[in-house]
């Protein structure tokens, strides 16, 4: 029997990839461990090895094919005696046929793109040309633009240079700016965060990348004690313009130690600015602002958003001010407040709730500190109802803070007790079903919204 070799998943979040190159051709003899092909994901280029000895049979996916789904049969290995012709008979079913052009054109578009566009058009911004970009590339472009603008801006972190970024966010920065300004560090978060702080105090503008914010817990002493508090402790003398950035929160099936959402931790600290963008435009505009900011900024990205494609305005110098929330969708019945990836979930929920007669206003916080509670409060004064959604845990969470501010400032406007949506109060489990039960999603938001509208 022939052995099926399928498109492998090369990372926890990989759903598809490009089959960039075949290193064997039909009829070649291979042994276990031989490299058959190169696959490019959004993060890296990887090699696919043969899992057994055999003869290369029918190559199902020609090289250069993009968006090959994980699990698609890419080639079969024949045992001696088998012929390609034999296989052709077996393979006469659609699952094994080469990917069709329509499929390969499919790109994963984030749901809110349309809403964002609607909003822009309603605000009369339709004359600005837009193009499509992933959040990953938007972040990359932000760094590249700021590095071109200011020679004191540099980036350091694990795998940021030669590897091109663990999540490819620093792709090609090394090529353009050289090793002086794109610095690979050893795996030593506490140490390089401290070195970054020292470099900032010495007059540079470091961007410190954490492979994930989970690892920044090793460095949180420098983020808070050395970076955030020093301006105050020095009576305004000692500056520390630094950006700490990287993915924050849950990824996909990576377990409790790699899935922590730190939004509320950093939001608690005076002396820091904390930013958590949702779409590509905000990712780019806010990161550029963060790099220019004279204060330490914690910039929380989301791994599951990196590959999402959004519209972004074609302007020369896209700057989004830190500290301003954005109304992503106007509505009259209830205010949904979120940041980062949960904004997408809220927009999805809003779409579904509309079909049930509930018109949601969605507020994207964008910045967690300083928190733009004014925009939230104004919205609640209009809708009289509030749901806060976040990926982190509930206790002392961002939602708790917002509910507190809203009840204080707009108590008389509330028609129902606000609801909060958050992660189950457990370390994030690995098992697929438990993970799904633990993480908050669209359905939780819908449920909470209906409760607040007394329609459950």
């Amino acid at each position: 029997m022939a052995i099926d070799i399928k498109m492998p998943a090369l990372s926890p979040t990989m759903e598809e990839g490009t089959l960039s190159k075949w290193l064997v051709k039909e009829g070649d003899t291979v042994t276990s461990g031989d490299i058959l092909a190169e696959i490019e994901t959004d993060k890296a280029t990887m090699e696919v090895e043969s899992i057994d000895d055999g003869i290369v049979g029918k190559i199902n996916i020609p090289e250069g094919t993009e968006n090959v789904k994980v699990g698609t049969l890419i080639v079969q290995l024949l045992e001696s005696g088998e012929k390609i012709d034999d296989l052709n008979k077996q393979n006469d079913n659609p699952i094994n046929s080469p990917i069709n052009s329509e499929q390969s054109q499919t790109t994963k578009k984030a749901i809110p793109t349309k809403d964002s566009l609607d909003e822009k058009q309603s605000l009369g911004q339709h004359h600005i040309k837009h193009s499509e970009i992933t959040v990953r590339d938007a972040l990359r472009d932000a760094m590249a633009e700021e590095m071109r603008r200011d020679k004191n801006v540099f980036v350091m972190g694990e795998e940021v240079a030669e590897y091109q970024g663990a999540y490819k966010v620093t792709r090609e920065l090394l090529q353009e700016f050289g090793e002086k300004r794109v610095i690979d560090t050893p795996i030593t978060e506490y140490g390089f965060a401290g070195i970054g702080v020292g470099a900032a105090m010495g007059g540079l503008k470091p961007i410190v990348e954490f492979m994930t914010f989970n690892f920044a817990m090793q460095a949180i002493d420098h983020i808070i004690n050395s970076a955030a508090k020093t301006l105050y402790m020095s009576g305004g003398q000692m500056r520390c313009p630094i950006v700490f950035r990287g993915p924050n929160g849950a990824a996909s099936r990576v377990g409790a130690q790699h899935s922590h959402d730190y939004s509320s931790w950093y939001a608690n600290v005076p002396g820091l600015k904390v930013v958590a963008p949702y779409d590509a435009e905000d990712a780019k505009g806010l990161l550029k602002s963060a790099i220019r900011d004279p204060n330490p900024v914690v910039f929380l990205e989301h791994e599951l958003l990196y590959g999402e494609i959004f519209q972004i305005p074609d302007v020369d110098d896209l700057i989004i001010p830190i500290g301003k929330a954005k109304i992503r969708r106007e509505g009259s019945d209830i205010t949904l407040v979120a940041h980062s990836r949960m904004v997408g979930k809220c927009l999805e929920a809003a779409k579904q709730l509309l079909t049930e007669g509930i018109d949601c206003e969605v507020v994207d916080l964008r910045t967690i500190r300083p928190l733009d509670s004014k925009t939230v409060i104004e919205s609640v004064k209009k809708t009289n109802r509030l749901v806060c959604a976040e990926e982190g845990w509930g206790q002392s969470g961002i939602g708790a803070e917002i509910v507190s501010r809203v009840t204080k400032e707009a108590f008389d406007f509330l028609d129902a007790p606000p609801e909060r949506v958050y992660q189950a109060d457990v370390p994030l489990p690995y098992a697929a079903n438990l993970e799904a039960l633990s993480l908050p999603g669209t359905l939780d938001i819908i449920k909470a919204a209906k409760k607040v509208c007394y329609k459950d």
Binding site: G191, G194, G198, G202
Partner: protein, 333 residues
Amino acid sequence: MTKKNNKPIMPIKSSKDELLSFYNDMLLIRRFEEKAGQLYGMGQIAGFCHLYIGQEAVVIGTRASMIEGDQMITGYRDHGHMLACGMQARGVMAELTGRAGGYSRGKGGSMHMFSTEKHFYGGHGIVGAQVPIGAGLALSNKYKNNGNVSLAFFGDGASNQGQVYEAFNMAKLWSLPVVFVIENNQYAMGTSVIRSSAETELHKRGSSFEIKGIQVDGMNVLEVRDATKKAIEHARGGKGPMILEMKTYRYRGHSMSDPAKYRTRDEVTKTRSERDPIDMVKNRLIEEGWATEDTLKSIDKEIKLIVSDAAEFAQTSPEPDASELYTDVLLDA
């Protein structure tokens, strides 16, 4: 090296002017610290207050080999470093009393003062944190190619912190112009080096990073000066970091609230009478005929005036205005 009864420091080369200035600067630190101790006892200084008495030669000797623009950064026992960098006694003392005239306008306290003008980068309260930050200052020097070196001071206690070794590794890997100065005063709070460190020869602590280390008599200001010169030239020449282990001794407790039960009074007295860094300089000045007792007395008198003026200022400077509570949290973007 001085062995007994504070013999003069011979035969290391020096000059009249140099030794007189060392004497002056070390004595300023000592008298300043004594006054700080008094003010603490009077309730004028609160919180933690870590005195530098006994260790003066370390900072004055190292500073003698630094050039304009070289940076200093240290931990919480920082008053001596600030005075050595040329920061005003008034401003330092007023920070200790928490007044508006202090270097941090009363918001930092004993452990948190800075002067960008004098290239002093703190004053850090988290043990060991200043070591990677100091390496970061060195990174900025290298990046800007300004020819400056940073000196990161830390104690024998901090030398057991993990981040110190993370900084060692990167400093060597990237050849950063930094000198790591370990002030081994033999006690981390109340725990002696022998009770806390598997390797008590702290100058060897860089060996797994290929960082050269020198053990120095930290009570001998000239030995400190020469060792530092060597290390700074090494760093400035692009060869990366060096470690200087300064064998020193603090006469006072770890902080003002330390009952010092972990060592005998004899041990302190013996060090004081046999290895005192200021007495060593004084004796040499007299033996060389570079100064008379009277000259030194008049220096003492001038220093007393500076210190009492600083104490007066520190007690009369107003507390920071209540409106200062919310300033200096963030800079305007």
